[in-house]
Subunit: 213 residues, 2 copies
DNA sequence: AGCGTTCTTGACCGACGGGTCAAGATCGGG
DNA sequence: CCCGATCTTGACCCGTCGGTCAAGAACGCT
């Protein structure tokens, strides 16, 4: 049993931010930082958003950031992971398990577009340049999971004779590509101001169904 | 007629890099810098590529960069514009003017995918984060031109009864989205190593045709 | 009140990278 | 050879921003 004796002064910040048990107030404060960051990243991008900006927006001093997060990219990673979980839940809820593969794929695609249109902040996170290895890894993590899901559904549809016998991985890329390009254009205001999210989601369903026919 | 008298020492670098008449040797040197930059941007991204890296790769001293380019983003803008022209030429050549709109759209899409697969450097330029206004403007410039072209073709196809009466701008976004998502996945090695560019282009043609059916 | 813990502040540090510029090399023409 | 123009060098400058940390405030428990 080895007990490490650390002088009291030096032990003050020896616990990594990730390993801390925050109080309720601390958790609220942390969330404020995350919310501020999400909004600023969406507005200006990751690189152009400074930690000072985030703290100013959250109404705290810059040094406080490091009580809650070890680095800027660690905050980013946490943001992405949280949003990704929410997206996955949205997708799963939209897919009716009692229906056929094509319908499920297109339901999932429509739900994704809907989620992304309603959560522009999340979508903007995916536009970040991947020069930082931490960031590149985090962004890569989730992308392949949805791709594999869709790929599996495509293969199921092919076995049922609902989808042509083309390469399932390419078809899956096509579905994911549709989701991201429509969401991106909606977010950038390229689709006109009279288009509702529901109309867009319905269109994406048709697009995906047609492409898989 | 006002002639400005400038001391000879101060006039030495008074001409902006853009306004210079370079010698043949100078033009070659400039191209070396552009080539080196294109490769490094593709490999590591814009932000992570320093001017020092570009100069080292081109085998020149860092200060020389500013004889040829006023800023880093000016070099980037020139790169993007050059590549965009080449892409447009490739697209135009691939579209048979004697055939129907759907065929032309899908031919253009296939040619774009082919070009991008064979010019990874160009495609990587489009992944750059848009925090620098100069960069954001340059990237925005060209994107809408192709979109308008495709939109016009879609409308032509709709008048001819070849394409359903859905929103043409959305259908055009779908085509462009397909081009970029397939190119991106190919570039990232997500499509397996046995897929050739020709096979990919052929697949994209089928995908676009189906989606517009 | 005292104490330990959590939280908060903001001046400071140092690495980084875009950009500067004086000095000098090279080239081409007369 | 001389001269003017083009090109080239690399030490230096300076602003930027992520991260540090000593000092102190606030909180909760005994």
């Amino acid at each position: 049993m080895t007990e490490v004796s650390v002088p009291s002064d030096q032990a003050k910040n020896a616990v990594a931010p990730d390993a801390r048990q925050h109080t309720e107030h601390g958790r609220e404060r942390k969330q404020q930082l995350l919310d501020a960051a999400a909004e600023l990243f969406a507005d200006r991008g990751y690189a152009a958003t400074r930690i000072a900006d985030i703290c100013q927006s959250a109404g705290v001093a810059k040094g406080l950031f490091y009580w809650y997060f070890p680095t800027k990219s660690a905050l980013f990673a946490e943001l992405v992971r949280t949003m990704r979980l929410r997206l996955r839940r949205t997708q799963a809820q939209a897919m009716d398990p009692l229906t056929d593969a094509v319908t499920r794929i297109s339901q999932g695609a429509a739900a994704s577009v809907q989620f992304m249109a309603e959560n522009a902040a999340y979508f903007a996170l995916l536009d970040v340049e991947r020069s930082d290895p931490t960031i590149a890894d985090v962004l890569k993590e989730g992308a392949s999971v949805y791709l594999e899901d869709v790929c599996r559904l495509v293969e199921e549809g092919q076995r049922a004779g609902l989808i042509p016998d083309d390469k399932s991985d390419l078809l899956a890329v096509g579905v994911l590509g549709a989701v991201s390009s429509f969401s991106n254009s909606y977010r950038n205001g390229r689709l006109g101001t009279d288009l509702t999210v529901d109309e867009l989601a319905a269109f994406v369903q048709r697009w995906v169904r047609n492409a898989l026919a």
